[in-house]
Subunit: 402 residues, 2 copies
């Protein structure tokens, strides 16, 4: 008669991630994108310089291109006067004005900086000695044509893209973003825009995960709501097989209406069911066998706070690994707790806090006012399983997961 | 005859930002967006709950809805047996099975948790006493219809959007994103896809800033390349007046071909020209008077490393302020320097470093290999004007700006 029994055992977060991520292979799909689309994409191949950089002998200074030997013996009290020309080639006794980046005229082999020169009639007096090659950036000095500039696997930053543009590239090969099918489940869930009857609620985990998956680096699609019916859940998982990752929300616990793990077991492999994480214990991780392939699946709980934490803990690294992206790196901040944080030993606990002037206040997660409390949340205090809570006044690290 | 003279004086970064940001007003344009589009957007009005939350009296536990007074005196050795019913209303002597979230049947006023019950024929034995209201979430207990749930100005996180969805909202009023016109300038710049002659280079700062502006939260448009001709620059600034912010790249110094500050002075106000920042000194900030309004403008230098730093230091906060967004918060990390960092007193200096295993290595910014060096950059060490460099072995803070 029990409506609800416990999980037989709970995996640690680390073991659950190891098992699940260990079963995933990064995707091999590659696409060519324009540089405008290349920001925060991952290079699918080494990028080689399509030409020398610089692609011509260039002046590294504002000044005058000269024949170096003309300046030998010059100094601030012993200038040499050179004839100013604007021709594309010079000979001994001549000089030509150059800017930083100007091509070096034929015949010149050095540049005298502007500050070591003075006007002298229609010529220029050079008051310093330069050696051959001085203040000239030689063709190919920076990068030789064919040299590798960025390695496969690089997550492109805006300045990286600028560099690719400056080398003459117009598009680049990147790994495809993982396509993620999000399936909201639950007989009590009604679509947005429909007024829920008592006992019903509007779908919300789907759109939340849609936004998470985008942020994680995936391409999300939200499936229609699926009721707590085994055949319908199974059919939805079949549809998911044409995606790179399936994410379900709701029905992931072990109660009478919690069918997803059972359906997953019948259609593939349950790698993990139940993790020592709070909130978020009723999460399942596995693989769906359908469409001639194995598609990874994360079954998130329906309780929104648990759904959010499990999405960041399990869906994010899965999307990142599939898409060849480095793991997420979060901003953290030290803060003093204004109130005690309770956490149960054995669980990794995520406590939402609001942070103001270096002080972190844990937010209520139950009872009246919980929604408006959550709406002030800034970050999370993450308590490892071997720590039992934190005292008021203790310094903690706040992680800004969102 | 000087090709290049210095700036008369340099503003500090703080003063430059104060002057420039002080001249900007956040935009008033508001748009309604669906929840799928609401991630990382800023609320343009307080959001009020469109209905009570919960919108019905709901069970807070799995168990049985009862008439509380039927349980008075019950305990683990003195159970009371109630008749199990599935009707929508109960009377004294009856109970009905409920799940967490189930509506409370008419006539019931408490829920007995499953663990305090036992099956007893076709009835249920209740082995604990509950008081009226116990384990029931009353309609409106969390949020009352009309209560403010999120304040105007909130930057919406995925979990915030989930909350809005769960309350029955389908769209939300947000501030428009600032529209930014990026104008690459320079007679030596040729479009991407065109092979540059000696002395020319492919346009790269435009696409870099396109990606920065998107990341900052704006909507970028890249203008065609404008040559170093006053009339053409002035015409481009006029076009910029139909945007919220203008960003030019190149020609922002004080040399012969550096015309943008002069053109800006003729078309509006130069608030700042020359900032004590390295790289990035030749930056101008001001306002263009055209189209019946004043449009803020950031004139970035053409040297890519300087252009990138100035974009993050000046364009980012301008976009954020125009768009009602909070200032950027960057991830930082302590690291030990492997090599000395040179910085000039009086300048805020941004030194690119690569970070590996807690060790930060400053990257070469000049000479051979500079490009491939930059392609390994992870973050910046930011040295304030009153500090002269850092020694090898010193612990520094690395800021991950990109």
């Amino acid at each position: 008669m029990p409506l609800k029994s416990g999980f037989r055992s709970l995996a640690s977060v680390e073991d659950a991630l190891d098992m699940f991520l260990g079963s995933l292979e990064p995707l091999n799909r590659v696409e060519m994108v324009s540089l405008e689309e290349a920001g925060e994409r991952v290079l699918a191949a080494d990028v080689r310089a399509p030409r020398d950089v610089p692609h011509y002998d260039r002046s590294a200074m504002d000044g005058y291109a000269v024949v170096a030997s003309d300046t030998f013996g010059s100094g601030k009290d012993a200038g040499v006067i050179l004839k100013l020309t604007s021709k594309d080639s010079i000979v001994s006794g001549e000089c030509r004005q150059v800017h930083t980046g100007s091509p070096i005229p034929e015949g010149a082999d050095a540049v005298v900086m502007l500050e070591y020169t003075e006007a002298a009639g229609d010529g220029v007096e050079v008051l310093a000695q330069v050696s051959p090659g001085q203040n000239i950036g030689l063709k190919g000095e920076d990068v030789r044509k064919g040299d590798i500039v960025f390695r496969e696997g690089r997550l492109l930053k805006p300045s990286d893209v600028g560099l690719l543009a400056s080398m003459g590239l117009t598009e680049v090969a990147v790994y495809a973003k993982p396509r993620v099918l999000i399936i909201p489940t639950g007989e009590e869930i009604v679509p947005r825009g429909v007024e829920p009857a008592p006992g019903q609620m509007n779908e919300s985990n789907g759109v939340m995960n849609y936004l998470y998956v985008k942020r994680f680096g995936g391409v999300p699609t939200v499936h229609g709501i699926v009721s707590d019916v085994k055949e319908e859940l199974a059919a939805a998982l079949d549809e998911g097989a044409s995606y790179d990752l399936i994410v379900t929300t709701g029905g992931s616990s072990v109660g009478k209406r919690d069918l997803i793990a059972e359906v997953l077991a019948s259609k593939g492999t349950v790698l993990v069911h139940g993790v020592a994480i709070k909130p978020g214990k009723p999460v399942a991780l596995g693989l769906v066998d359908a469409g001639g392939k194995r598609t990874p699946i994360v079954c998130l709980p329906g309780y929104p706070a648990a759904c959010a934490v499990d999405s960041m803990v399990f869906v994010d690294p899965a999307v990142k690994k599939l898409g060849h992206m480095p793991p997420a790196a979060y901003r953290t901040q030290k803060a003093i707790l204004t109130r005690k944080i309770y956490s149960e030993a054995g669980y990794r606990t995520y406590t939402r806090v609001s942070v103001e002037e270096g002080r972190a206040t844990p937010l209520r997660t139950k009872g009246a006012g919980v929604l408006s409390s959550i709406s002030r949340a800034d970050g999370y205090v993450i308590t490892p399983p071997d720590v039992e809570g934190h005292e008021a006044g203790e310094e903690v690290e706040v992680t800004f997961l969102e």
